[in-house]
C-alpha cells in the first residue's frame, strides 16, 4: 500500500530525514519509535503533505501513485489521514460543519455521492458512541477549548468518520492519562482492518501495549536503524534508546 524509498527531507539547511526506506502493506500496523529529534514527526508530516519540508531525494508510492506530487487535500482524498500531535483549534466552525465538509470533499474527490444530513448524522453519532464522546461536541467549534486528551480523542473520532486507507498517528499517546489512552487505543483497534494500514508514531512503548503492532521500526538521525516485530518495542522499553544509539554508531562507522 505504501512504499517509501530513500526519502530525504530538510527544513531550511537542516536535513532531518536521511534516507527512509519503509514498506507498509494493507492490514498492517507499524510502529515508528525513536528518540526526540529523530525525525518521527517529520516523516508523519511529510506523508501528510506539509509544505515546510523540502524533499531532496527519494519517493513515496501510495497505492501505485506518487504521493509526493499530490496536494494536501488530494492525499486525504486518496485516503491518507494524519492524527495530529497538536490538533488545531478552529473557533467559529462547528465540528459538525467541519466534518461534513471534509467527508463530502473526500467523496467529491472520489466521484461518490454527497452524504445527506440524515446519513451523516447517523454515521457521526455511531462513531461518537464508539469513542465515548458527548453529542454536544458537534455544535462546538473544532477543538475549541478542548483539553489535550479531548483533542486526541477528537482526532481518532475524525478518523473513524472519514475511514482512511492509511492512518498516521503522530504521538497520539503523548499527554494522555491511562483512561484516555485506552479509549483512544480502542478506537484505533476498532479501525484495524484488512484493507487499512496504520502507522503509529510514538516515543513510548506504553501505547503499543494497547495497539499491538505487526512491525516496529526505530528511527534515529533520520534513518530507520532497526526493524523487528512487537518484541523490539519491549526491548527498547528495557534498554532505552541507548540500544539504538549503539546501532547508530555501527551505522555511521561500520568497522
Amino acid at each position: 500500500m505504501l512504499e517509501i524509498k530513500d526519502l530525504h527531507a530538510r527544513v531550511e539547511e537542516a536535513e532531518i530525514l536521511r534516507g527512509i526506506n519503509l514498506t507498509v502493506n494493507a492490514g498492517e500496523v507499524h510502529a515508528i519509535m525513536g528518540p526526540n529529534g529523530s525525525g518521527k514527526s517529520t516523516l508523519a508530516h511529510v506523508l501528510a503533505g506539509r509544505e515546510d519540508y523540502e524533499i531532496t531525494r527519494g519517493e513515496v508510492v501510495f497505492q501505485g501513485k506518487n504521493l509526493l506530487e499530490m496536494e494536501v487535500d488530494e492525499r486525504a482524498g486518496e485516503g491518507v489521514f494524519l492524527a495530529y500531535q497538536y490538533p488545531v483549534e478552529i473557533p467559529g466552525v462547528s465540528t459538525k460543519y467541519f466534518l461534513k465538509a471534509a467527508l463530502n470533499s473526500i467523496r467529491k474527490y472520489r466521484g461518490e455521492k454527497r452524504s445527506d444530513t440524515g446519513e451523516f448524522l447517523k454515521l457521526v453519532k455511531e462513531k461518537m458512541k464508539l469513542l465515548g464522546m458527548d453529542k454536544s461536541l458537534l455544535d462546538r467549534g473544532v477543538n475549541e477549548g478542548f483539553s489535550g486528551g479531548e483533542k486526541k480523542r477528537n482526532e481518532i473520532f475524525q478518523m473513524a468518520v472519514l475511514q482512511p486507507k492509511l492512518a498516521i498517528l503522530d504521538e497520539t499517546d503523548s499527554g494522555l492519562d491511562i483512561d484516555a489512552l485506552r479509549i483512544v487505543a480502542d478506537g484505533v483497534n476498532s479501525l484495524r482492518s484488512a484493507d487499512r494500514a496504520i502507522i503509529v508514531v510514538t516515543h513510548y512503548q506504553r501505547l503499543l501495549e494497547y495497539i499491538v503492532p505487526d512491525k516496529v521500526h526505530v528511527l534515529a538521525d533520520g534513518r530507520i536503524v532497526r526493524s523487528g516485530d512487537k518484541t523490539l518495542a519491549l526491548e527498547l522499553e528495557e534498554q532505552g534508546y541507548a540500544l539504538v544509539e549503539g546501532d547508530r554508531e555501527s551505522v555511521l562507522s561500520p568497522t
Binding site: A76, Y84, P87, V88, P91, V93
Partner: protein, 440 residues
C-alpha cells in the same frame, strides 16, 4: 469645511422649504430643534480629513453629491420586503425612504402602556415625552451629520417602555431605500426610551433596493434608565452605491445593561458611531461589531464609551474582514472619568486582511483619569492562519473551501454569540453565501 457654496446654498434652500412645509404642524420646540440643528450644520460644515475624527474617512463624495430629500415612492409589496423581515413574530416598523409605511408594519400587541410607533405619529400623542428626550443625547457641536439629521427630523421610530414593563417581542425597525432617478437623502431619527426596570430588544435594519447613489443619515437615541436592559442590533445592508452615516447615542442609568451588535455588511461608504455614556454606578455595556468589506467599500466604525461613574463594566469586540481594495477604519475610545473608580473595560479590534490592497486603520484608545481601574485594549491585524488552513486541507477540504471556512469562522465568532435566533440565522446566511459555502 469643504468649500462648495452652491451645494451649501442648495441645502439651505432645501432646509427653508422643508422647514416651511412642516412648521405649521410642528410644536415650537421641534421647530427650534430643527433650526438649531441646521445652525450647527452650517457652522461645522462637512468634515474634512484634516479633522482628527475624520482623518481616515473622506466624505468628499457625500459633500459633493447634490442629494434631494427622498420622497415616498410607489408602495412596496410584502413580497418585496419579505427577504428583510427577520421574523413575522417581531413587532415591526417599516420606513421607505424615511417615510413610515403602516401597511407593511406590525405594531399590534405591544404590552400595556408601551408605545411602539413612528415618531411623527407619537408627536401627536406623547408630545411632552418626546420633547423631554429628543435631541437630549446628541450635543456635540462638531457632529455635522447628526446636526444635519436634527435639521431634517421628520420621522423614525419611537419606542417607549414604561416602568416595569418587559417587551418580549423584539422590535424590528426596517429602513428601506428605493430607486430614485437622482441622488436622494433620508434622515431617519429614532428615539428609544426604556424607563426603570424594563426590558426591550431593538433591531435596526438598513437596506437598499436601488442601484443609484443615496444617503442614509440616521440618528438613534437610546435612554436606558435604572435597572433597564436594552439589547440593540443593527444590520447595515445598504446597496452598492449607498452612503450610510449613522450615530447611536446611549445613556445608561444605575445598574442598567445595554448591548449593541453591529453588522456592517453593505454600502459604498459607511460611517457608524456608537456612543455610550455610563452615567451611574453598576452599569454594564457590551459593544460588538463586525464589518465585512470588499471591492472599493469603505467602512468606518467608531465607538466611544464614557465611564463617568464607578463600578461599571464595558466589553467591546469589533472584527473586520477586508478583501480586494476595501478600506476599514476602527476607532474606539474608552474614556474613564476621574470619578469612575473600579472600572472594568476591555476592548479589542481584530482584523483579517484577505488581499494585499486592503487597508485597515485601527486606533483603540484608552484615556484614563481614575487610578483604580482595570482596562485593556488591543488590535490585531492578520491573514488566514496557515496552520488551520493545513489542518482543514489535510482532512480533504480544498484550499478555496478551507479559506472560505476560515473567513466564515472568523466572522462567526461574533454572529455565534447572538441571542436572537432570527438575527443570528440572517447573519450566518449572509456569511455563508458571501463565502459561497453550503448551508449548515
Amino acid at each position: 469645511m469643504i468649500a462648495n457654496d452652491n451645494y451649501t446654498q442648495r441645502i439651505s434652500d432645501e432646509f427653508a422649504r422643508f422647514h416651511a412645509d412642516l412648521k405649521s404642524q410642528a410644536p415650537a420646540w421641534l421647530t427650534g430643534l430643527r433650526r438649531e440643528g441646521f445652525r450647527r450644520f452650517e457652522k461645522a460644515g462637512f468634515p474634512t480629513t484634516r479633522q482628527e475624527e475624520w482623518r481616515f474617512t473622506n466624505v468628499k463624495r457625500i459633500a459633493e453629491t447634490e442629494f434631494a430629500l427622498a420622497e415616498i415612492s410607489p408602495p412596496l409589496s410584502r413580497e418585496t420586503i419579505s427577504p428583510f423581515v427577520l421574523d413575522e413574530d417581531y413587532l415591526r416598523l417599516v420606513f421607505v425612504n424615511g417615510h413610515y409605511v403602516g401597511e407593511l408594519s406590525a405594531t399590534g400587541a405591544a404590552p400595556d402602556g408601551a408605545v411602539v410607533c413612528n415618531l411623527s405619529a407619537a408627536l401627536a400623542d406623547h408630545p411632552a415625552l418626546i420633547e423631554d428626550h429628543l435631541g437630549q443625547l446628541v450635543s456635540d457641536d462638531n457632529a455635522c451629520f447628526a446636526a444635519l439629521n436634527s435639521a431634517f427630523i421628520r420621522d423614525g421610530a419611537f419606542v417607549h417602555v414604561p416602568r416595569g414593563v418587559v417587551i418580549e417581542r423584539p422590535i424590528h425597525l426596517l429602513f428601506i431605500s428605493t430607486d430614485n432617478s437622482s441622488p436622494t437623502a433620508s434622515h431617519p431619527r429614532n428615539l428609544i426610551i426604556a424607563q426603570p426596570e424594563t426590558q426591550a430588544t431593538i433591531i435596526e435594519s438598513y437596506v437598499g433596493l436601488n442601484a443609484g447613489v443615496y444617503l442614509t443619515n440616521a440618528v438613534t437615541e437610546i435612554s436606558v434608565a435604572e435597572n433597564a436592559v436594552v439589547d440593540h442590533y443593527k444590520l447595515q445592508q445598504e446597496s452598492a452605491h449607498g452612503y450610510h452615516v449613522a450615530t447611536t447615542h446611549v445613556r445608561q442609568q444605575r445598574t442598567s445593561r445595554f448591548s449593541s451588535h453591529y453588522f456592517s455588511l453593505g454600502g459604498q461608504l459607511v460611517r457608524n458611531e456608537v456612543d455610550v455614556t455610563l452615567d451611574d454606578e453598576g452599569c454594564e455595556c457590551t459593544l460588538n461589531g463586525l464589518y465585512i468589506a470588499a471591492g472599493d467599500q469603505h467602512m468606518d466604525s467608531r465607538t466611544r464609551i464614557d465611564h463617568a461613574k464607578p463600578h461599571c463594566n464595558s466589553y467591546e469586540l469589533y472584527k473586520g474582514i477586508l478583501d480586494e481594495r476595501s478600506k476599514g477604519v476602527f476607532n474606539g475610545i474608552i474614556y474613564v472619568h476621574p470619578d469612575a473608580q473600579k472600572t472594568d473595560a476591555k476592548q479589542s479590534n481584530r482584523v483579517l486582511l484577505l488581499s494585499d490592497d486592503a487597508v485597515i486603520d485601527t486606533k483603540p484608545q484608552l484615556e484614563i483619569y481614575a487610578d483604580d481601574v482595570k482596562c485593556t485594549h488591543g488590535a490585531t491585524v492578520g491573514q488566514i492562519d496557515e496552520t488551520a488552513l493545513f489542518y482543514l486541507r489535510s482532512r480533504g477540504i480544498t484550499e478555496d473551501l478551507a479559506r472560505s471556512l476560515l473567513v466564515y469562522a472568523f466572522a462567526n465568532e461574533i454572529a455565534n454569540e447572538l441571542k436572537l435566533e432570527a438575527v443570528r440565522e440572517h447573519v450566518e446566511r449572509f456569511l455563508l453565501t458571501g463565502q459561497s459555502l453550503p448551508e449548515l
